[in-house]
């Protein structure tokens, strides 16, 4: 053990028996918030958890009200929504920073926070998926439900059926209950969220040796840019990441197990590794990388490769991921390599000044969107500034207290690495790579920041200041992270289904999808990206879009080139969808009703791009809803 380092975490084998804070339980809860009326009867301590449950529910309701007003196209103040988020989170943050709660209560609070923030995503678009990846995975799940087998082709993201963990698991719930893939998927991802929060808590508790640090670190993780929306969608990473954290937790627990009991961990660990591998490519590689890093850190600390050094498991993970890649999911290479090589090229180009850096808070799809307000940008930058300021203090504390812990060392490296991903956000093609990586690296940053111990700062005149400051900082980090991770104009839900004279009407692209499902079952469509996704699910059709094959050019050019009809024929695309809306290629915003204001601002599409198919002899125009039309090219493809 390195001199001066703290000893290993508690070896009780049970986190429930772990002290909430080494300094002990000191005093009743600070009554910083005045409670009156009905709440006057609430007993401090005993009723704190119910009070936090109430505030979480109330905050969620406030978010739902803000969403409802936005769906009504009333342009509500975003403050309602952010107030709702803060009402959910701040009381929990404050409670977690106290010395009072038991480890069990902290675990409950962390789960409450994770599940309530997940509910914020659920109420964003219930009862339909509207995130672009969700529609792709819902199609895969529906294919499994229809055919009772895996690996059916996905026309938009061909690699996804080869990582069927999420959709396969969804099929279990859906087939046994008769629920839709939406309902089953929401329940499944909710369960995964519970595993994520619980695993983080126990992992941090084991490494940090304190339930208080563990609770704060797990709460801090909710401030990562992707936690609120991207990481909560019905997508393979939403299941794979919790399973990765479960694996990490198992390794952390295994580390303190007596040698004779080490074998007990093998089956659960191998099961979790295999599940990650069949669920998501990047997460399985991240797991392998993490295990290699922990093995090396273990060697660095203990100077030995013997068990419990997890290097054999790192090898197993690498082997399983490689076998899956080579035997089942060979197309992953073709999918990931352009993304990664493009990211590297973009970094070089931006660093050498050959291409300008990416403008922050702008749409990558190129569509004109509502600008992020200055105040929101300021909070976002403030959040990054807080992370940056906290890092050196956290690293210092980690080195001082936890450098005998391999996991803590890896967390420290990951925390530094997180700031590298921020730099990637400044180059356009590398943005996505940085965004994905940040979700993994933030685990380390959360622990490092929680280790700063800000909550223990108690100036004599204002002993509450440390906790108040920490609570405020966490609030800024949560809101700033959410603003950084999801476009400002998409934070609130948009009108997809609208009540009109007591009946429900649906948006034009959803109307197209519902028509196709009823009238053209089994049809094959070439369509703009947003329409294509809805045609997949809930439409249940085969739809292609984008650049490969080059549907985008076929739909956007004003005249038909010689290669276009043969390409459609090659892919058996009998139906072509034209869409005059500017947002038809926007996979984040292209699913909703237009409003009078947006229509007034929209530049009309060039007429020939949407009418050129009418000039093909034998082609017929079989559907229209105004902006969107469908041409049947039977016999002329």
């Amino acid at each position: 053990m390195a001199p001066g380092a703290a000893g290993p975490a508690s070896d009780t084998g049970s986190v429930s028996s772990m002290p909430a804070e080494p300094t002990g339980r000191s005093r009743p809860a600070q009554a910083g918030i005045p409670i009156s009326g009905l709440l006057a009867k609430v007993r401090p301590g005993a009723d704190t958890v119910p009070l936090l449950v109430f505030s979480a529910g109330f905050g969620l309701l406030l978010c739902s009200v803000a969403n409802a007003l936005s769906r009504a196209a009333l342009a509500p103040s975003p403050l309602i929504y952010w107030m709702g988020i803060l009402i959910v989170a701040l009381p929990i943050f404050h409670r977690l920073s106290s010395t009072d709660p038991s480890a069990r209560e902290r675990f409950g609070l962390v789960c409450l926070l994770g599940l309530t923030l997940y509910s914020v995503k659920v109420i964003h678009d219930a009862p339909l998926f509207t995130f672009s990846d969700e529609l792709i995975h819902a199609f895969n799940a529906n294919q499994i439900a229809s055919h009772h087998h895996l690996f059916h082709a996905n026309p938009l993201l061909p690699v996804t059926p080869y990582y069927p963990g999420l959709e396969g698991a969804t099929s279990a719930l859906a087939s046994m209950t008769g629920l839709s893939s939406y309902s089953a998927g929401v329940v499944l991802v909710g369960a995964a969220r519970l595993v994520l929060m619980g695993s983080l808590f126990f992992l941090f508790a084991r490494v940090g040796g304190s339930a208080r640090t563990a609770g704060l670190a797990a709460a801090l993780y909710t401030a990562n840019f992707n936690f609120l929306f991207w990481g909560a969608q019905f997508s393979y990473e939403s299941l794979a990441l919790p399973l990765l954290m479960l694996t990490m937790m198992l390794f952390a627990e295994r580390e303190i197990t007596p040698k004779a009991s080490l074998k007990a961990w093998t089956a659960p660990i191998v099961l979790a590794i295999a599940a990650v591998t069949v669920t998501h490519h990047l997460t399985s590689y991240a797991l392998a990388a993490a295990l290699v890093a922990i093995s090396l850190a273990y060697w660095y600390v203990h100077r030995r490769w013997r068990s419990p050094n997890p290097w054999p498991f790192a090898l197993v993970t690498l082997a399983v991921a490689a076998v899956w890649l080579l035997v089942i999911a060979g197309s992953t290479v073709g999918y990931l390599s352009p993304v990664l090589s493009g990211a590297v090229k973009a970094i070089v180009n931006t660093a050498t000044g050959e291409s300008p850096p990416r403008a922050l808070f702008h749409s990558s799809s190129g569509t004109a969107i509502e600008a992020t307000p200055l105040s929101a940008r300021a909070i976002s930058f403030l959040a990054v500034a807080l992370l940056t300021v906290g890092l050196p203090f956290g690293l210092w504390r980690v080195w001082k207290r936890f450098r005998s812990q391999p996991f803590a060392l890896v967390f420290g490296v990951a925390a530094v690495g997180f700031f590298g991903t921020l730099a990637l956000r400044l180059t356009p093609p590398a943005w996505e790579t940085g965004n994905r990586a940040s979700e993994f690296l933030f685990v380390g940053l959360a622990f490092v920041l929680a280790a700063t111990g800000l909550e223990t700062w108690r100036p004599r005149a204002r002993p509450w200041l440390g906790r108040a400051l920490l609570t405020g900082c966490l609030g800024v980090l949560l809101v700033g992270g959410a603003i950084s991770g999801w476009p400002w104009d998409a934070q609130l839900s948009q009108p997809l289904r609208v009540s009109a004279e007591g009946k429900t009407i649906v948006s034009p692209p959803l109307g197209l999808a519902e028509w196709a499902r009823e009238e053209v079952p089994g049809g094959r469509f070439a369509a703009p990206s947003a329409d294509a996704r809805l045609l997949l699910a809930p439409g249940g059709e085969i739809a292609m879009s984008g650049e490969s094959p080059d549907i985008e050019d076929i739909l956007s050019e004003t005249s038909l080139a010689g290669w276009e009809l043969p390409l459609l024929r090659k892919h058996h695309l009998r139906y072509v969808v034209t869409d005059g809306r500017a947002l038809s290629e926007d996979v984040l915003r292209g699913y909703f009703f237009s409003t009078r204001e947006s229509v007034a601002q929209e530049e009309p599409a060039q007429k020939d791009t949407v009418t050129k198919f009418a000039h093909i002899p034998g082609a017929t125009r079989i559907y229209t809803n105004g902006d969107i039309a469908v041409y049947d090219l039977e016999g002329k493809r």
Binding site: S14, V15, A72, H149, P164, T177, V278, T504
Partner: protein
């Protein structure tokens, strides 16, 4: 599994949940039974077997049970894919019950007797009256939030529209043109539909639709003997009768050829 009440209960619960989820036709009730079977019991059985000699804390067992159950579902799908029957309700139920039974059996064999774990109970939540009111209030608020999210709200600024579609087919006796009109407008709208088949007198229809209402029309004609017969469907709004609101074209195929 004598002496291991938790394991006996887990097996019994898995059988009960599987049976109810398979038999009942009500998705919401099935979900109540399918969730423990899919998302808790398999993981609990595996965790019990793995840690038979060194039981984990209850909270860890909870996380591990849900997490390992998710892993079982992800890998179980792969297994079922290569077995006869594939991924169906019955095969899933059978697999999960088998996993639970095998795990519990292994746990029972490995556990020292009598098992401390089987005697221990899950922690009870002690809540005062005011705490209960707050918990209930929080749960109600969350349910209200979900219901509000699922309820379509009026959006007067949303631009409504009308769908028009057309399909054609023929048999030996006649050619048939089907024209559908669906209103996704914000209020009731009066329409005027004109269907013109090549060489025939136009067929006209006058009708109103309320939001969300669909009207289907069929126009019959003699089956084309040679080339397909062109058909044009034009929709007008009664408040703007001079401009075509929607227009579609089709071809009525000769018998035996579909469009």
């Amino acid at each position: 599994m004598r002496g291991h009440r938790d394991l006996r209960r887990a097996v019994a619960a898995s059988v009960l949940c599987a049976a109810v989820a398979l038999i009942l036709p009500f998705p919401a009730i099935c979900l109540v039974f399918a969730v423990p079977l899919c998302l808790f019991l398999p993981g609990y059985a595996i965790a019990s077997a793995a840690f038979a000699h060194r039981p984990l804390a209850r909270m860890q067992t909870l996380v591990l049970s849900v997490g390992l159950s998710l892993a079982v579902l992800a890998l179980g799908a792969l297994l079922l894919n290569y077995l006869p029957g594939g991924l169906r309700a019955g095969t899933w139920a059978l697999l999960l019950v088998l996993v639970v039974f095998s795990g519990c059996r292994a746990a029972a064999l490995r556990r020292p007797k009598p098992s401390g774990a089987s005697r221990s109970t899950w922690p009870r939540l002690q809540v005062s009256k005011s705490g209960g009111v707050l918990l209930g209030g929080g749960a109600l608020a969350a349910i209200a939030a979900l219901l509000l999210a699922m309820t379509p709200v009026p959006a007067k600024n949303a631009v409504g529209y009308t769908e028009l579609w057309l399909s054609t087919r023929s048999n030996a006796r006649s050619g048939v043109v089907r024209v559908g009109v669906r209103s996704e407008e914000q209020h009731e709208v009066g329409y005027f539909l004109r269907v013109r088949l090549d060489g025939e007198k136009p067929k006209l229809r006058l009708f109103n639709l309320v939001p969300g209402e669909t009207r289907m029309f069929r126009v019959r004609t003699a089956p084309p003997s040679g080339a397909p017969v062109p058909v044009v469907a034009s929709l007008f709004r009664q408040d703007e009768p001079k401009s075509v609101y929607r227009r579609l074209t089709g071809l009525v195929p000769p018998p035996g050829k579909s469009r």
